[in-house]
Symmetry: C2
Subunit: 136 residues, 2 copies
């Protein structure tokens, strides 16, 4: 099996529970919100959530939103190979849209190159109001 593809079967019990909570949620969740949701499943301490989240982020199944201190399940199948993901976060409904754009990624890499900056990770988060919330 491809070592980079992680399916449900690969996940531990705690990882599966955390992944489930994020998948069920419409928007991003904080670690403590996840903890509260999983109390009935035996979760008692933040570390149980953070440890699972670390792995899920490492697997690429979950993304961390820096501007929200929250986590969201990846809903963008093609993002696996792409390390330059942009998030559009609606400040009204909380929904998050994940997009990858070649031109955007290229330009960022170029800017980093011009500065001789060894790029490791990019964070792009757009805050605003989504289409649905604008008409409402």
């Amino acid at each position: 099996m491809n070592e980079h593809v992680h399916e449900t079967a690969d996940l531990t019990k705690n990882q599966t529970l955390v992944m489930g909570a994020l998948t069920r949620s419409k928007g991003p969740l904080s670690a403590y919100t996840i903890l509260d949701q999983l109390r009935d499943n035996g979760f008692r301490a933040p570390l149980q959530v953070y440890r699972a989240l670390d792995k899920l982020v490492e697997f690429g199944l979950v993304h961390r939103l820096e501007s929200l201190n929250a986590f969201v399940a990846c809903r963008h199948p093609g993002c696996d190979g792409d390390d330059t993901i942009a998030f559009m976060i609606c400040e009204r409904c909380g929904q998050v849209n994940e997009i990858t754009d070649t031109a955007l990624a290229m330009r960022l890499k170029q800017l980093a190159g011009e500065a001789s900056f060894a790029l490791k990770k990019t964070t792009i988060e757009l805050r605003g109001i989504c289409r649905t919330c604008q008409v409402a």
Copy 2:
């Protein structure tokens, strides 16, 4: 005077102190680090720092780095009119470089437009190793 330009004279005592701490620093500072540095100036509580920071960010004199939960003095004179700023953050020395790029900003606006997303604020933070730290 231009209402968008804030000089030292416009700042209150606390705002001036916080601005000074950030200007003196080589890299970004957390709110609590600033608090510690200003204890001798009468600072006693986090809120004194956060209130000043809120205003300084509002004035455009200071930027918040979401991925660090820290603040940095603006060292990019041209960034005032531009709301699409990218930060290059060196993970070794901590120094932050601030850049604005028209092509980057345009592409982001275009992507938002295509999704009918009413863009309010963009966060772009690049993590990596700066030129100086690579050779060292």
